[in-house]
Amino acid sequence: MSQTAPLLVARDVSKTFGARKALDGVSVTVGAGEMVALIGPSGSGKSTLLRSISGLQTIDPGKGEIEVFGRAVQKNGRLAGDVRRTRGGLGMIFQQFNLVGRLTLFTNVMLGALGRLNPAVALLGWWPGAEKNKAMAALHRVGVSDYAGQRANTLSGGQQQRGAIARAILQGAKAILADEPVASLDPVSARRVMDLLVELNSRDGLGVIVTLHQVDYAIRYCRRVIALKAGKVVYDGPASELNRERLIDIYGPEIEEAFWEGGAPA
C-alpha cells in the first residue's frame, strides 16, 4: 500500500433500495489526511455512502467502484475478497455507538484488535498484555479509562461514543468513518467527540469522513464539505464557501432546522 494513495476513491457509485435511488452516480475522492464532512437532508444518501465505503453495504452492480487507500473495497456490486483487511484500516463510528452492551467498555475496545490478533486466541479473549495496555492508553486518551470495567450499556451516550473512538484508535486505523457520530448526543458530549475527531486528524494524521446532520458542525470542524441531495453530489468544496444560497439549494427553505447551535449564515 503506498503512502500517497488517497483515503477514498469512489467512482460512479449507485445504490438502489427498491424503487428509490439512495446513491445516484456519486464520484468522490478524499485525500489520505483530509477531514471531510458529508452533509445533506435525511435520506440524501450520506449514510449509505459511508457504509458502502467500509463494505457494510454493497453497491449496485455496474461500473461503480470504491477504493480505499488504493485497495478495492467493492466493484460491480461485490465486496473484495480482502475487504476485512481494508476494514481493519478504517475505524467506524456509528450514531448508535454499536458497542456490545453486555461487554465491558474495556473488552469493547479490545475488539478493535481482533483483526491483527491470532484468531484462535482472540476467540477465547486471551488478550496479550501489550494489547491490554494499548487499550487502556486509548481509553485514557479519550478520557473514559475510569469506566473500563463497566458494562458498555451502563454508560452515557457520550462515554460510549468515546469508547468507540478508543476502539478505532486501538485498531490502528488510518482513517475514521463516522456516521452521524453526534446525532444521539447532548451538545457538550457532541463537541468533545468532534474535538477528538479533529485531534485524531490534525495530530495523528488520520483521515476523517464524517456525516453530519448539523450544518454548523460541518462548517466549524471540517475544512471541506461534500453535500448530497437525493443521492447526488450537489456541493464539494471549502466549508467557508457554503453560503445561504447554496444551503437553500441543498436543504430547501427550512435550512434553519439543519442548524443545531448557531443560526444559518446570512
Binding site: 475505524g91 456509528f94 455507538f97 454499536n98 461487554l103 475488539l111 482472540a122 476467540l123 476502539r167
Partner: protein, 269 residues
C-alpha cells in the same frame, strides 16, 4: 358544512363481519362436535367409576397415606441418578443446540443452510422423548444412557429452535460494530452475537433442565434408569407404600429444582 354533517350523522356501532361470525360458529361448533364424538372413545363415560371406589383404590389410598421409608437412602440415590440423567441430557442438548441454533438463524446463516436445519429441528422436536427413549433402549440396552440420549435429542431440537429465535431478535448494530473492525465471521458471532443472547440462552437451558428432571422420571418407567424405574418396579410388585415414598421424593425434588432454577433465571434477565 361537511364538518357539521359529520357531527350530525352518528355512525352506527361497529359490527363484526359475517365471515368472522361464521368462522366463530365453525370453530366453537367444531370443538363441541369433536368433544361429543370423542366421549365414548376417550372413556369419559366411565367417569362415575372414579367416585364409586373399589377395593384396590381403598388399599392404594391407605398405602399412600402410610409411606414406607425403609429404603429411603436407596430411593434418594435413584432420584440423584435421575437428576444426573437430566443434567447430562441437558448438557449434551446445549452442546449440540449452540451450533445448530446459530445455523438455524436467518440473520447469520444463508437460507439454503438455515431452512433444512430448521426442518431437521422440527423433526427432532416432534418425536416424543418416550418414543426416542424406547429406540435407544433397543440400541444401547436398559439403563440411564438411553434416558440421557432421549433427552439430548428432544431437548436439543427444542433448545436449538429457541436459541435461533433469540439470535434472530438481536440488535445488529453491535455485530456491525465488530464487523467494521475487520473481524471475521466467527469473531462477529462470538463477540457480537453471543454476548447479546447469553442471558436468554442460559435461561432457556435452565428451564429445559427443570423440565428434563420431570421427563427423566417418566423415562425411567420405560427402563431408562433412575427413580422412574424404581417407581414402576414398586408399582408392579404392589409395594404401594413405597410408591408413595417415591412420589413424595419426586414432588419435593422437582419443586426444589423449579424454585432454584426460577431464582437463577430471574437474576439472569
Amino acid at each position: 358544512m361537511s364538518q357539521a354533517a359529520a357531527i350530525d350523522a352518528v355512525p352506527a356501532p361497529p359490527s363484526r363481519p359475517l365471515s368472522a361470525r361464521v368462522f366463530d360458529l365453525l370453530l366453537w361448533g367444531g370443538l363441541a362436535l369433536a368433544l361429543w364424538a370423542s366421549f365414548e372413545r376417550a372413556g369419559v363415560s366411565g367417569l362415575p367409576d372414579l367416585f364409586r371406589g373399589s377395593e384396590s383404590a381403598g388399599q392404594l389410598a391407605g398405602a399412600l397415606l402410610d409411606p414406607d421409608f425403609s429404603r429411603l437412602p436407596f430411593l434418594l440415590g435413584k432420584m440423584l441418578e435421575t437428576l444426573q440423567i437430566a443434567l447430562w441430557g441437558t448438557f449434551l442438548a446445549v452442546f449440540f443446540a449452540v451450533p445448530l441454533g446459530l445455523l438455524a438463524s436467518r440473520n447469520i446463516t444463508p437460507w439454503y443452510i438455515q431452512r433444512p436445519i430448521r426442518m431437521v429441528l422440527d423433526l427432532l422436536r416432534s418425536a416424543p422423548d418416550l418414543v426416542i427413549g424406547l429406540i435407544f433402549v433397543i440400541i444401547v440396552g436398559l439403563g440411564p444412557l438411553p434416558g440421557v440420549l432421549a433427552l439430548t435429542v428432544n431437548t436439543g431440537g427444542v433448545l436449538a429452535k429457541l436459541f435461533s429465535e433469540a439470535v434472530e431478535s438481536i440488535d445488529k448494530g453491535p455485530v456491525e460494530g465488530v464487523r467494521a473492525t475487520g473481524a471475521g465471521k466467527l469473531h462477529e458471532i462470538v463477540w457480537g452475537v453471543l454476548p447479546q443472547v447469553a442471558p436468554l440462552w442460559t435461561s432457556f437451558a435452565l428451564y429445559r433442565f427443570e423440565s428434563n428432571a420431570r421427563a427423566a422420571t417418566v423415562l425411567g418407567i420405560i427402563g431408562a434408569g433412575g427413580i422412574g424405574q424404581a417407581l414402576i418396579e414398586s408399582f408392579n410388585s404392589f409395594q404401594f407404600r413405597e410408591v408413595s415414598t417415591i412420589a413424595i421424593i419426586v414432588v419435593v425434588t422437582v419443586s426444589l429444582i423449579d424454585l432454584l432454577s426460577q431464582v437463577m433465571r430471574k437474576r439472569l434477565l
